[in-house]
């Protein structure tokens, strides 16, 4: 069945069960991936997957939901039945409705959908990449984590009010994670990830070069003394922190009492005036962009922090109604509709005269810690309390030299971090989770074992 046929099927099944109001979200995908080990294919995978999430509204206008991978006629009927039963337990205190924007026009980017290259081609490309990475430096002994994949999928939203929207996409990903070993030293690892609409769009050479350079740069390492340091966050690591604390911008989190913000926080000064943050799911560099969210609301660019002040929250239909605003296109379909950012864009605002512009990661000669990548986010971030304590990969820059830091953590408070930004470099870099320049922060605690 295609998505139009499924919509008709659901509509007919709902009629037969006397269910007047329903909506659904679905995804259908075909994925192919390969892994290699020293020139040999290790695991080759293909999957065909379908997921259907149906919501129904009962006579008391309470919502019930069911998710299934069975889209046969009987599967759809069963899902509607179960959702109907679940609606008896629907949330009486927070109504859910269709998004008022579910029929608004959507901006579908030039889809750049690619055709599959097939498992054999994936395998050949990954084998070649592994060989080149192993040959790039004598200390690189293996590439224990590697993969090349391509996915082709369709996403759909439709409701009983006549809304219907779908889009199809393709996406490919390459990751190479190398391990280097030298005598009498601990093994060191690092890697690189590249995304593209298709395999032909992935810059494989650059992925190999990045993985090699990063891994080798950590070969000469040393412990760091526990102290407070001037920190330079790489674009990737700063975006990691912002995403980890995105509950600050999230209306759902505010209503649930797990955000550092509250309903009245709009306009609150969060950081230096030099900082702007947007959520921009449709950004041309976002390979994973979706033109609508789980409730069918169109995706759009939204300013979250404007010149250091909180400008907007991200919303679903129900949170927007409670906050007396409109949905922003950030909803995930579920019994309790979730809200999350799409793609964060960090930039320097026009109000940047207070920044210490001499702080440039490529030229600054004073002492600082460069945080390349933050790890174990799920374990080290307390979003509801604002605190973090995270292991990282990075370097200590001192006297014009840099040395990789062995096993250390950076700890602090997100509000302190944002207010102590001392420079925002000019050049933005594209990462897999958004765009950001390098960000400098004064006085964060680093724990090492020196």
């Amino acid at each position: 069945m295609n998505s139009k046929e499924i919509t008709i099927q659901i509509s007919e099944a709902a009629d037969s069960l006397n269910l007047k109001k329903w909506d659904y979200g679905a995804s259908f995908s075909n994925d192919y991936s390969v892994q290699v080990d020293k020139g040999e294919a290790k695991q080759l995978k293909a999957s065909q997957k379908q997921i259907l999430t149906i919501r129904v509204w009962n006579e008391s206008n309470l919502v019930g939901i069911t998710t299934t991978s069975d889209i046969s006629e009987s599967g759809i009927k069963k899902a509607l039945n179960q959702a109907n039963i679940a609606s008896d337990f629907g949330n009486k205190n927070e109504k859910t409705e269709f998004s008022p924007l579910a029929k608004d026009p959507i901006k579908v980017k030039d889809s750049k959908k690619r055709n599959p290259v097939g498992i054999k081609k994936l395998l050949t490309l990954l084998r070649e990449a592994e060989v080149k990475l192993l040959e790039s430096h004598e200390s690189i002994k293996s590439v224990p984590y590697n993969g090349l994949s391509e996915s082709f999928y369709e996403r759909v939203y439709a409701n009983s009010d006549g809304a219907f929207r779908s889009y199809t996409k393709s996406q490919a990903a390459l990751y190479l994670y190398a391990r280097a070993e030298e005598k009498n030293k601990k093994p060191r690892s690092s890697g690189s990830v590249k995304l593209g609409y298709g395999v032909e769009d992935i810059d494989i050479e650059s992925c190999i070069k990045d993985a090699s350079n990063k891994t080798i740069s950590h070969l000469n390492y040393s412990s760091i003394k526990t102290d407070k340091y001037l920190i330079c966050f790489s674009p990737e690591s700063f975006l990691t922190i912002i995403n980890a604390f995105s509950s600050m911008f999230n209306a759902r989190s505010i209503l649930d009492g797990v955000s550092l913000s509250n309903k009245n926080s709009i306009g609150e000064k969060l950081s230096t005036e030099a900082l702007n943050i947007y959520d921009d799911g449709l950004h041309e560099k976002n390979i994973s962009s979706s033109p609508f969210d789980g409730e069918g609301t169109p995706t759009k660019r939204l300013c979250l922090i404007n010149k250091g002040r909180l400008e907007n929250f991200i919303h679903s239909e129900s949170t927007a109604r409670i906050f007396k605003t409109i949905p922003t296109g950030h909803a995930g379909l579920g019994s309790k509709v979730s809200v999350s950012p799409d793609w964060i864009v960090v930039e320097k605002s026009e109000e940047n005269s207070d920044l210490k512009k001499s702080l440039d990661h490529s030229t600054y000669e004073g002492e600082f810690v460069y945080i390349e990548e933050l790890n174990a986010i799920h374990a080290g971030v307390r979003a509801s309390q604002g605190s973090f304590s995270l292991p990282f990969d990075g370097w200590l820059y001192k006297n014009g030299k840099k040395i990789s830091i062995e096993s250390a953590t950076v700890a602090g408070d997100i509000k302190y971090l944002l207010k102590n930004i001392v420079n925002i470099e000019s050049n933005q870099e594209v990462t897999t989770s958004g765009i950001s320049p390098h960000i400098w922060v004064d006085e964060l605690s680093i724990t090492g074992d020196a």
Binding site: Q43, A379, S407
Partner: protein, 474 residues
Amino acid sequence: MLSSQIKSNEIIFGSCNKDLLEEIIFYGMGLGADFVEIFIENTDNSSVLAEEDFITSVSPSFGRGAGIRIFKDKKDGFVSTNDLTKIGLMRSVSQAIEMLDITDNKKREVFNGLDKHRDYSLSKKKWINEVPSIHEISEKLLVSTKSLKKSNKIITRKGSYSRNLQEVIIASSDGTYVSDIRLHQTVGLNVIASDAQYRSSGSRRFGSSGLPHEFRLWDHEKAANDVFESSMNMLYADYVDAGQMPVVLANKFGGVIFHEACGHLLETTQIERGTTPFENKLNEKIAHESVTAIDEGISEGSFGSLSVDDEGMEPEKSVLIKDGILKKFISDRAGELRTGHKRTGSGRRQNYSFAAASRMRNTYIAKGDHSKEDLINSISEGLYCKSMGGGSVGATGQFNFAVEEGYLIKNGKLTNPVKGATLIGEAKEVMPKISMCGNDLELAPGFCGSISGSVNVTVGQPHIKVDSITVGGR
């Protein structure tokens, strides 16, 4: 003709699928596979969320699918699909054969048909009717969140329940033909406490496998008291000072450190990747002589227990480390093929869309002779980690773990609560520093995410003392 005699063209749960499964396996072997494995599942899941004094989410879900794995030499091709018809399954076999580029269909391995059906599900079919109803669950969750209303400083109260019922059929070209039903239930409580600029949180999760009535027996009042006390103890806690120090790790979920820092390094997938420092250390000392560590899938009702693993093997009790000496690795079919370590009944996967891999089940450090007080009394200045948060281990073996509830130890006594602590180290350096094990072994349920998805496990240990470890703080 009786309906059971009609040859089905689709997998039907609860029926005999032997003919169809054999046909699919013969088809794969005929195309030149060394080994064919079929894993089929049918799931019926449900979750309920209570927030404050209301049920805010009820989410049923169900589904079915198949994962087909073909081995040729040491390579494997894995295809997953929602199509359980004969045509769909054969298409998946063909796709796996094509991926592996098998053009030589000369048979090297022989398939002699499936063995006698081992049906572990017979006594479990009634479970679906014995588990609590959504109504019953909702009522108990609401009583639980009400129990958390012990102070106006508690600003958020949540109770959650989830039930996963998984029916599986496993068949492979070595004759394996198995059916089983697995039931997992978890229930958890969470609070956030707040007073002016101070904030803290507390959480506890409980879980079981194969015990349909377990939720009814859950002592929600005790759980609520525990979570409340934890959050209030931590509300005004200072940040811990960073440094090297001795620590005492509490029992139950304290075992997450052994699981993450050492257990994963004893999975054969790590040998395959060359990422474990213990690869060539079998029968060598890798830990303090006070440490014996076990991984097993047989403790009745424990969250990581199984009647049979996802490759059709009954789980064994594996003594991984005995008195500090490395004795065994955790192995699955691919692990045995690629590393030579015998299977341990540890081939596990989240669902049909993942190929099985060597994964932990119930993993714990065995109990020792000491009391908790012995351990604390032996430390003049250090940290007591009463409750651990999550953690992770990096590709080169470094681990880090958040301490959810910690207390300073001074002159052998517990003193002030401290927050923001992270334990950092490397397994091969920390294992020899576990110098004392308590006599109070307990297990705690959890979810472990790795190569074959998220699987149910238990972690566990008695109270243990680590002589020195890096504590991250401010």
